[in-house]
C-alpha cells in the first residue's frame, strides 16, 4: 500500500499517459475504410466534422467559452483555399490547409482579443454577431465570394504530387484522417499541459484564477486562436473534399450543429467529438433517407432524449454506466434501502409525460410514409397514435423507475451544484 503522498504524485504523473481504449476510435476509423469502401465520401465528411467539433471542445469543454459562431473560422479556412485556388492558382492542398489554418487563427486572435473580455450571454451574442458579419461581408462582395451560389468546380493538385482525388473519396479519407490524427496529437498535448490545466481552472473558477495571478485574458485569447486555426483547417478540408464552397459555411446552422454534436458526445473529454459527430451525422444521413421532408424530427427526438437522460453527453452516460458496474454506486446499492418519497412520484409522473410526448412524435416519425401530416397521423391511424403515446409514457416512467431503484436518484432531477 502506497502512502497518500506517493499515490497523489503517481496520479498526476500518469495523468497524461496513453490508455489503450484511446486507440479505439482510430481503429474504428481505419476499419470503416475496409468495411464501407463505398461510403468514403461520407466518411471524410464525418472526419471533418469531428475535427470541427474537436476545435470547439478545446474552448468549450476546457476553457468554458460558449460560442455559437464557430462557423466563422470554419468559413475563413474554407474560403482561403477556395479563393487561393480560384484567384491565385494556388492549388496545392497541404500548404492550402496550413494557410487556411493560419488565417483563421489570426482572425481568432483578433476577434478573441476584443470579445473575450465578456462572458456568458454577452459573449454568446458577440460570437453570433461576428459570424453574421463575416457572412454578410461575403454577400456584399459576391463578385469575389460567389455569394450563396458559391464557387463551384474548384480544382486541387494531387496530394504530395502523386495521389489524385478519386470519385470514391478514398484518397481524401486517408488524407483527412491523417490531418485529424496530427491535430488530435496537438490538442491532446495542449490539454494535458500546464496551459491546459490553467484553462480548466478558468472554466472552474475564474475569480480564483485572477487571484492566483493568472493572465486570464491572454490564456483565453491564445486558446481561442488555436481553436479557430483548427476550425479553419477543418473548413479548408471541407472545401477540398467538395471542390465547392458557398457562403452557407458561415451559417448559424453550422455553428449550432457543431455545438450540438459536441454536447451530444460529451464535452471536455477529448473523445466526445468523435462519438457525437459520428452519431449525429450517421443518424442525419439515415433519417434524411427515411424521410427527405421530416428528417429533422428524428434529430430533434434524439436531442430531447439526450437532454433528458444524458446531460453529460453519450460519454458521460458511458461513464455513469461503468461507475454503476464497477464503482461505488454498486457497493452502495447492496446496502441501500429505497426511500420512496413524494418527489419520486412526481418525478415518475413528469418522465411519463415526457415519454408520452416523445412516444407520440416517434410514432409520427415511424409512420411518416403513410401519414405525411400530423393531422392525418392522429385521425388516420388513432390506434397507432395511442399505442405509441402510451408506450412512450411507460418507457419514460420505466427508465426513471429503474434509475430510482439503482441509484436512488431520478434521471431527470438536477445534478447537485
Amino acid at each position: 500500500m502506497l502512502d497518500a503522498r506517493e499515490r497523489g504524485a503517481n496520479y498526476l504523473v500518469r495523468h497524461h499517459y496513453f490508455r489503450w481504449p484511446e486507440a479505439l476510435p482510430w481503429l474504428i476509423a481505419i476499419a470503416c475504410f475496409f468495411v464501407f469502401p463505398n461510403r468514403m465520401t461520407f466518411g471524410g465528411q464525418v472526419l471533418i466534422m469531428i475535427m470541427f467539433a474537436l476545435s470547439l471542445d478545446l474552448i468549450l469543454g476546457y476553457a468554458g467559452i460558449v460560442t455559437l459562431g464557430h462557423a466563422a473560422f470554419f468559413g475563413v479556412g474554407a474560403y482561403t483555399v477556395a479563393l487561393a485556388s480560384l484567384r491565385l492558382g494556388w492549388s496545392e492542398p497541404i500548404s492550402g490547409i496550413v494557410v487556411g489554418g493560419i488565417l483563421a487563427g489570426l482572425a481568432g486572435a483578433v476577434v478573441g482579443w476584443f470579445i473575450l473580455r465578456y462572458r456568458g450571454l454577452t459573449l454568446l451574442m458577440l460570437t453570433i454577431a461576428f459570424a453574421a458579419m463575416l457572412q454578410e461581408s461575403g454577400n456584399l462582395r459576391s463578385d469575389i465570394t460567389g455569394g450563396y451560389d458559391g464557387l463551384p468546380g474548384l480544382m486541387f493538385d494531387p496530394l504530395l504530387g502523386t495521389f489524385q482525388y478519386d470519385l470514391y473519396g478514398h484518397t481524401n479519407y486517408w488524407y483527412v484522417l491523417t490531418v485529424l490524427a496530427v491535430i488530435f496529437y496537438f490538442v491532446r498535448r495542449i490539454v494535458y499541459s500546464p496551459f491546459g490545466q490553467a484553462l480548466t481552472g478558468i472554466r472552474e473558477n475564474v475569480r480564483r484564477m485572477h487571484a492566483i495571478g493568472s493572465p486570464v485574458h491572454r490564456r483565453l485569447v491564445t486558446v481561442y486562436a488555436i481553436s479557430a486555426a483548427i476550425a479553419g483547417v477543418a473548413g479548408a478540408l471541407f472545401t477540398q473534399t467538395n471542390a465547392y464552397v458557398t457562403l452557407a459555411v458561415f451559417d448559424f446552422d453550422n455553428s449550432a450543429k457543431v455545438l450540438v454534436m459536441l454536447i451530444l458526445g460529451g464535452t471536455g473529454r477529448l473523445y466526445g467529438p468523435f462519438l457525437g459527430a459520428a452519431v449525429y451525422m450517421i443518424l442525419e444521413d439515415y433519417f434524411s433517407k427515411l424521410s427527405p421532408t421530416f428528417w429533422q424530427l428524428g434529430i430533434g427526438l434524439l436531442l430531447v432524449l439526450a437532454v433528458l437522460f444524458a446531460r453529460r453527453g453519450l460519454l458521460g452516460l458511458a461513464e455513469d454506466a461503468r461507475g454503476l458496474l464497477t464503482g461505488s454506486e454498486r457497493r452502495s446499492f447492496a446496502s441501500r434501502r429505497l426511500v420512496w418519497k413524494r418527489d419520486s412520484w412526481s418525478a415518475l409522473g413528469s418522465s411519463a409525460f415526457d415519454g408520452a410526448v416523445i412516444g407520440f412524435l416517434a410514432g409520427f416519425a415511424v409512420n411518416l410514409k403513410e401519414a405525411d401530416l400530423m393531422t392525418s397521423y392522429v385521425t388516420g391511424m388513432p390506434a397507432r397514435a395511442i399505442i405509441f403515446t402510451l408506450g412512450g409514457a411507460a418507457i419514460g416512467a420505466g427508465i426513471n423507475a429503474v434509475a430510482l431503484l439503482i441509484t436512488g436518484r431520478t434521471a431527470v432531477e438536477e445534478p447537485p451544484s
Binding site: 499515490r7 497523489g8 498535448r189 490545466q197 481552472g201
Partner: protein, 256 residues
C-alpha cells in the same frame, strides 16, 4: 528605512452615492499581524477588493514594497506577492485538491505558459504541492475532488492555495467563516503558525481570535478608519465598544 510591505494611502471608493471607502490609510510592516474589524457593512471586504485590484479606487494609492501597484491588474498584483483568501470559498471545485495546488504553483512560476510539456512531468511542482498539503494535514485528501470535502476542509484548501503563492502580504477574509466552532480551531492554528516574514491582514468577527492573533487592530466604520491601536488600546476604547453596540451619538463625535 525600508518600505512597508503594504501601504494604502487615501483610498476612496463609492458605489453611486454610497461611499464605501473613505480616505483609508493603512500600513502593514514586514511580518505585521493586523486585524481589520468593524460592524457589518463597514466596507472591510471592499477594502480587500481595492487592495487586491478586484475593484479600482476612485482616488488614492496602494503600494507594495514601496512600488505603486494602483494601476496593476489583480493578476499582476498576485504575481508580485499579494495573496488573499475569500470570505466565501473560491476553489476549483471539480478538480482534486492536489490539482488546485499544482495549478497555483504552475501559475506562480510561469509553467502555465507551456502548451507542450505535460503537467505531470514536473515532479518538483507536485512535490511542492504535497508539501503545502502536508503542512495543513491535507495529504489524505489530496486526490479527492474539492466539492466532496466538508466545508471546513475546503477552507483549509483556500488557505493552502494562498500560501502556495509564496506571498509577502496575505489578506485573510474571515478564514473561519462558515466553519463549525468544533473545527475552526484547526484553521486558527494554521493562521497562528504562519511564516513570521509574511505580513498578514485578517478580517475576523470573533474577538477572541482577533485578540489572540493580532498585534495591531484597525477599526473600520462606515468605510473610514475609526481608530487603530494595540489590542489592549482597542479593548479599552469606549468609542469602539459603543460602535459595536450601535450607539449613533458616539459616531457623531468623530465627524464633529
Amino acid at each position: 528605512m525600508t518600505a512597508a510591505a503594504l501601504q494604502v494611502e487615501g483610498l476612496n471608493r463609492a458605489f453611486g452615492a454610497l461611499r464605501v471607502t473613505r480616505d483609508v490609510n493603512l500600513t502593514l510592516e514586514r511580518g505585521a499581524r493586523r486585524a481589520l474589524i468593524g460592524p457589518n457593512g463597514a466596507g472591510k471586504t471592499t477594502l480587500v477588493n481595492l487592495i487586491t485590484g478586484v475593484l479600482k479606487p476612485h482616488s488614492g494609492r496602494v503600494l507594495l514594497d514601496g512600488d505603486d501597484i494602483t494601476g496593476l491588474s489583480q493578476a499582476d498584483r498576485a504575481r508580485r506577492g499579494l495573496a488573499r483568501t475569500f470570505q466565501i470559498n473560491q476553489l476549483f471545485r471539480g478538480l482534486t485538491v492536489l490539482e488546485n495546488l499544482c495549478m497555483t504553483i504552475g501559475e506562480r512560476d510561469g509553467h502555465c505558459n507551456n502548451l507542450w510539456r505535460s503537467a505531470g512531468s514536473r515532479r518538483g511542482v507536485i512535490d511542492e504541492a504535497l508539501d503545502h498539503l502536508d503542512a495543513l494535514r491535507l495529504t489524505d485528501d489530496a486526490l479527492k475532488l474539492v466539492r466532496e470535502l466538508p466545508y471546513g476542509r475546503q477552507r483549509l484548501v483556500e488557505i493552502a492555495i494562498a500560501l502556495a503563492q509564496k506571498p509577502r502580504v496575505l489578506l485573510l477574509d474571515e478564514p473561519a467563516a462558515g466553519v463549525p466552532s468544533s473545527e475552526s480551531h484547526l484553521i486558527l492554528d494554521v493562521v497562528a503558525a504562519l511564516d513570521p516574514d509574511i505580513a498578514v491582514l485578517i478580517i475576523e468577527h470573533d474577538m477572541d481570535v482577533v485578540f489572540r492573533f493580532a498585534k495591531e487592530i484597525t477599526v473600520l466604520v462606515q468605510g473610514a478608519v475609526f481608530t487603530q491601536g494595540t489590542p489592549n488600546e482597542i479593548m479599552n476604547n469606549e468609542q469602539v465598544r459603543a460602535v459595536y453596540l450601535g450607539q449613533e451619538s458616539h459616531r457623531g463625535d468623530r465627524h464633529g
